[in-house]
Subunit: 318 residues, 2 copies
C-alpha cells in the first residue's frame, strides 16, 4: 500500500510514528511543509522537516516534541555573547549540526530535496521524506503592531510573539512561483491513500496545498483522501491553530476545518469523540465522518488513529 | 608608543599577552596571518586571528594554546554522525559560534577586517587586531604522495598530516593579487616599533610579508624592526617550523632565520641563551642581536621577552 501524508511538524510527525506502527509494510511518502523554514545565523533551518526526521529517526526531544534529545546550548550561548540573535529561537548544538550540513550542501548547489535525502540517510525515518518544494517559500503573517500593519516571519509570530496578537493574514510568500519538489506529484499520482494528519490546516497543510499543482494532483488522484481534525472541542490539540484559522475566516471547530478543505479535496474526516455532534454536519457536506479518540497521548494512541484513518479510506474506496 | 606586531597563532598570541603586560599603555596593532584560514562545513575559520583574539580576550584553552576553554564537541560529533568531515580539524561548539557569526557577516558583505572588529567588540583583546588582508589567501603546501606531487591546504599538511612528509614548496595562494586590509599600511607607517614575535617565519610572518606592500612598508617605515627567534637550539619551540623552513631552503637555526629576513627588513633579533653562539654571525650580517631566555613558559616569561625586544628597539633607534 502506497500512502502519501502531508505533514507539518509535531502533530504530523507523531501521527507518522503511529502510521508506521499501524501499517509497517506500507510505502509511505511524506510531503513536508517548508513554509516555516527560516534563515538563522546564515543557516537554513527547516523545522518541520527536521521534526519529522528526528521523530521517526529516534532523535527527537520527546517532551517538547521538537529539537534533539540530550541537547546542549553552547553555540546559542556564544552567539548571544556576540550579541547575535535572535535569542527567541531555540537552536541546540546537535540541531545546529543539521543546519550546518544542510546549508553547506545547499551552498554547494544541491536542491533541498537532495539535501533532505542525504540527512535522512543518517536518520532512516522509514518513510520517504520530500519537501513540498525545492523553491524558497516563507510563510509570513500580517499583524497590527502599534497601529501599523506589519508582516512578520511565521516563526517570529509563532515562537517569539506566541501568536499573542491576531493574525490578519497568512501568506506563503513565494508559493505562487514555486514548483513541487521532484517526486511529489509522482507520489500523489501513485498513491493508494492520501492522509492529512492532525497538522495545522493553515500554516502546515494549507501551505503545502498552496504550492501550485499539489492540491490539483490530490483532488484528481482518484484515491481516498482522509484527514484527522487538529481541532478537538473547539480548540487546537496543541499550538495556536485557532489564531491562524481566524485569519482565513475559518472557525476553530472540527467541522469548519473539514468544510474549509471541502468535499472536492477531502473524502473522509475523523473528529474526536467530544466532537461527535459535528459528524452529521460534515457528512451533510459530502465528507464521510466518524468520531474517534484523537489525542496522541502515546505511540499506541497515534497508531489507533492511523488505523481509523486507513479503515475510513477503505470505506471510502468501497 | 605605537607598536605594530606581525602575528601568527599560538606563539604570536602568547607573545602579545606578554607585550601587553610589559607595555600596558602602548597602542598595539596586530597584523594577523590569514593564510591558514580554511573553509570547513561551509564556514570561514580563521585560526590565527581567533587564537590571538581568544588568548588576549581570556577565552583560550591554555593547555593546547588554541580553541576555547571549557569546550564541548557536540556539533563535531553530529557532523561525524552525518558522515560530514573533515574529522581531523577540532572545532568545538563554542568555537563554532565564532565561525557562524563570521560567515554570516561575510555573507552579508562585510569584509573580514570589519568582521574581526565586530568579533573583537566582544573579546576586547586590548589590541587592534587587523587581518593582513580582506582578500582570500590560502597557504598551500606541495608534497610528494605516492610518487605524485600534490598541493594540500596548509591545515591539511599541518593538522591532518602533522607535517610527516617533507614540504616541497609553500605557496600563499592568492597573495600576489591581494591588498593589505584597511589600516595595515597606515599602522605600519605610524608605528614607533615593529615586532616579529616568535611566530613561524614561513607560514605565519612569511605569509603576512607576502601580501604586496606590507614588506615594503615595514622596510621603509624607518623605525626599529625587532624579532624573536622561534627556533631555539636548532629546533622550533613548538610546531614544526623546521619542515616549512626546509621547503624554502632555510636551515632551522636562529641565525639562518634572521638572515632569511635579512638586514634590509630586520634591525634586531633576539635568540635564546642556548643559541648565544649565533649572535656574532647575526651581527656580522648587520642585524643587532642578543641572547636572552626565549621560552614563553608563562605570561611573566613572555613579558620579559617583550621587554627585551622593546629595549633592543630603543638601542636600535639610538
Amino acid at each position: 500500500m502506497r500512502i502519501v501524508v502531508l505533514a507539518g511538524g509535531i502533530g504530523g510527525a507523531r501521527f507518522l510514528r503511529g502510521l508506521k506502527r499501524a501499517a509497517p509494510d506500507a510505502d509511505v511518502t511524506v510531503i513536508g511543509n517548508t513554509g516555516d523554514d527560516i534563515h538563522l545565523f546564515g543557516l537554513k533551518v527547516c523545522p518541520d522537516l527536521d521534526t519529522v526526521m528526528y521523530t521517526l529517526g529516534g532523535g527527537i526531544n520527546e517532551e517538547q516534541g521538537w529539537g534533539r534529545t540530550d541537547e546542549t546550548f553552547q553555540v546559542k550561548a556564544e552567539l548571544a555573547a556576540y550579541g547575535v540573535g535572535p535569542e527567541w529561537f531555540g537552536l541546540g548544538d546537535r540541531d545546529f549540526a543539521t543546519h550546518i550540513v544542510r546549508t553547506q550542501m545547499l551552498g554547494a548547489g544541491y536542491p533541498l530535496s537532495a539535501v533532505t535525502e542525504a540527512l535522512c540517510a543518517r536518520w532512516k525515518p522509514g518513510v520517504r521524506l520530500l519537501p513540498m518544494s525545492d523553491d524558497r517559500i516563507e510563510t509570513h503573517v500580517a499583524v497590527d503592531l502599534d497601529g501599523e500593519r506589519k508582516a512578520v516571519h511565521f516563526q517570529e509570530y509563532w515562537v517569539r510573539m506566541r501568536a499573542s496578537v491576531p493574525a490578519q493574514a497568512v501568506v506563503p510568500v513565494g508559493a505562487d512561483q514555486a514548483k513541487p519538489a521532484p517526486g511529489v506529484l509522482e507520489a500523489v499520482a501513485a498513491a493508494d491513500v492520501i492522509l492529512f494528519p492532525p497538522s495545522n490546516p493553515v500554516v502546515s497543510i494549507g501551505t503545502i496545498l498552496a504550492v501550485p499543482g499539489i492540491r490539483e494532483a490530490i483532488a484528481e488522484a482518484g484515491v481516498p483522501v482522509v484527514g484527522l481534525s487538529p481541532i478537538v472541542g473547539n480548540a487546537p490539540v496543541r499550538g495556536m491553530a485557532d489564531k491562524v484559522l481566524a485569519a482565513i475566516g475559518v472557525e476553530a471547530t472540527a467541522a469548519a476545518v473539514a468544510l474549509h478543505y471541502g468535499s472536492g479535496l477531502l473524502d473522509g474526516w475523523l473528529v474526536d469523540t467530544v466532537d461527535a455532534g459535528a459528524v452529521a454536519d460534515i457528512e451533510g457536506a459530502g465528507i464521510r465522518s466518524r468520531a474517534v479518540p484523537l489525542l496522541m497521548t502515546d505511540v499506541d494512541a497515534a497508531a489507533a488513529m492511523a488505523r481509523e484513518a486507513l479503515t475510513m479510506a477503505e470505506e471510502v474506496r468501497a
